[in-house]
């Protein structure tokens, strides 16, 4: 769309002089290029620097494959749990009034304001050898920290608020008349949820899940604290990227990193679509 045409149908009666507008657009685009586009381009450029064969070989390495597997397992546990929690919490908070609701909302948001390093540390303090349950766990030969369960726990912690925080405002804005109508017409509680509520919040759920998943697969700080960095055993993809990078194996590091960058791009695309759908749905109501 040309600028001239756009400014003629602009709803703003007043705008800045032509050169100010272009100056601001240029500043914004240069800033975003330097900070966002260039890093994104660099990931792929570094990954393919030595050609496609080297790229594919780096991905086919057994340690890489096992890190991909661990990341997928982690996300497969963390995301559904937080999805279930998000939907349940949103149902309680958005559809009912009770004392302490604001406090509950703040507590749900807590994991976002805690440094990832602390998110990992708290599990070490509980389940680690020097931790509360450490001696008991060792007696029974159960490993949580520096093993897969610790990685999953830390991931659940850092991705905890995503679904809930997306669904609560959405469900609040939709009210509860539709559910009430369904109940009056004789639907059971579950029927009401699956046939009335769920279609209404479908895109909100997709939005929350996709962001939750991106963070679950990409989390570094928290997982780094609880993982123990055992190659091929407790390394997730981001941790594997770190190891390869620290070994000066840059091409392999960026090859594996490019997988995560792909994931980020797909996440952004789905997120944009979901946002648009949610907005559309809210306008229809």
């Amino acid at each position: 769309m040309s600028i001239a045409k756009a400014s003629s149908d602009n709803r703003y009666t007043q705008t800045e002089p032509f050169f100010v507008r272009w100056f601001l657009i240029a500043v914004a685009l240069i800033f975003l290029t330097l900070f966002l586009l260039l890093p994104l381009g660099a990931v792929f450029s570094q990954a393919f620097e030595k050609g496609l064969t080297v790229y594919l070989d780096a991905l086919k390495e057994p340690d890489t494959l096992s890190s991909i597997k661990l990341t997928l397992i982690t996300a497969a546990v963390a995301v559904p749990l937080n999805l279930f929690f998000g939907v349940t919490a949103a149902w309680a908070i958005a559809k009912f009034n009770f004392i302490g609701k604001n406090l509950l909302l703040t507590l749900i948001d807590l994991p976002f304001s805690v440094s990832p390093v602390i998110s990992g540390l708290i599990y070490v303090l509980i389940f680690g050898l020097q931790g509360w349950m450490g001696p008991w766990l060792q007696e029974h030969d159960i490993k949580i920290v520096f093993a897969v369960p610790g990685i999953i726990l830390a991931t659940i912690f850092v991705t905890f608020p995503f679904v809930a925080r997306e669904l609560i405002p959405l469900m609040e804005s939709q009210g509860k008349e539709e559910e009430e109508a369904a109940l009056v017409l004789g639907a059971t509680g579950l029927q009401t949820f699956f046939r009335v509520t769920l279609p209404n919040i479908k895109w909100g759920i997709i939005y929350g899940v996709i962001l939750c998943n991106a963070r679950a697969m990409g989390e570094f700080g928290a997982v780094s604290v609880v993982s123990g960095h055992i190659r091929g055993m407790t390394n997730t993809v981001p941790l594997h990227v770190e190891i390869l990078y620290n070994e000066y194996n840059y091409t392999a590091a960026f090859a594996v990193a490019s997988l995560l960058a792909f994931l980020a791009l797909i996440t952004l695309a789905i997120k944009t679509i979901a946002e648009w759908k949610v907005r559309q749905q809210l306008n229809n109501n």
Partner: protein, 276 residues
């Protein structure tokens, strides 16, 4: 407006859903977090103070909080420009740029870290240009500011953007009718309207910068006293099996996070009141 009946809510499932919410919240978040506080309570007061005010720790606070403030300032300026341009102007590729603003949310921090370190290292794409001028970014405190700016940017844009969208054209028109020129309209009408959201965005970006770990450690150089951030110091203590030290410093960080959370909540309430 949706009418809310306080009594006789016919919807089912309140008890179980609230019960599960509180149970899951306690198991995953509250009990583990309280473990940190209890462990710190196991230290004597003197020991705690000595640990959290050791010179190397104090230097790390200075690096972390100082860099986060500078990064949040940079983001406040450029974030407002980006938000303004995205809402008010039309240019080719606007939608793609809009979606791309969230990249720092979606891109794993480790990937951002190694990429920024590579681009800004002396033989990287941008480092190569800056090097002859004597500007070094990677492996210096400047690198920390750079990484914090990267991860904090979406917070400012996404806080300010909806507020710009909501500004009523009538307000600007009224200013014009009363004889204000464009600059006066911006300074007297638009800036006061945006201010609460800019401050909120600043606080969010600052809070994120303070806790950030993954994107910083690759580019920071991690020199004790110079470019060592507090989260890294916690990990260093842990790796030396100094659990007490790690717990004490983490407690200070947690306290800082909670204070910021409180301030941000108050700011957001202020922003919302302004919007109405």
């Amino acid at each position: 407006m949706i009418q809310r009946k306080k009594h006789n809510n016919v919807l089912p499932g309140f008890g179980p859903s609230l019960g599960f919410t509180i149970f899951y919240l306690s198991v995953i978040v509250l009990i583990p977090l309280s473990a940190l506080v209890f462990r710190a309570a196991g230290l004597t007061w003197g020991e705690f103070i000595d640990t959290v005010t050791a010179p190397r720790v104090l230097a790390s606070y200075k690096v972390t909080f100082g860099s986060a403030i500078i990064a949040a300032c940079i983001n406040s300026v450029f974030g407002v420009i980006v938000a303004w341009v995205l809402v008010r102007y039309r240019f080719p590729g606007r939608r793609i740029v809009d979606a791309l603003v969230d990249l720092p949310f979606a891109l794993p921090t480790a990937v951002a870290g190694i990429t920024l370190a590579t681009i800004y290292s002396p033989n990287g794409w941008i480092g190569k240009i800056l090097e002859p001028h004597g500007i070094k970014i990677a492996f210096t405190p400047l690198g920390i500011i750079l990484a914090m700016t990267f991860i904090g940017l979406p917070f400012v844009v996404r806080t300010v953007q909806p507020v710009i969208e909501e500004i009523e054209v009538e307000l600007e028109e009224a200013a014009v009718c009363l004889g204000a020129n464009r600059l006066q309209t911006i300074l007297r009408v638009i800036v006061p309207l945006l201010l609460p959201s800019v401050i909120t965005g600043f606080a969010l970006s600052f809070a994120r910068g303070v806790g950030e770990y993954g994107s910083i450690i690759f580019i920071a150089g991690n020199m004790p006293m110079v470019s060592e951030i507090t989260p890294l110091l916690i990990i260093t203590k842990l790796e030396q099996f100094d659990y007490r030290g790690a717990t004490a410093i983490a407690c200070v960080m947690l306290l800082a996070s909670f204070s910021m959370l409180l301030v941000i909540n108050l700011l957001q309430r202020w922003t919302r009141r302004f919007a109405e």
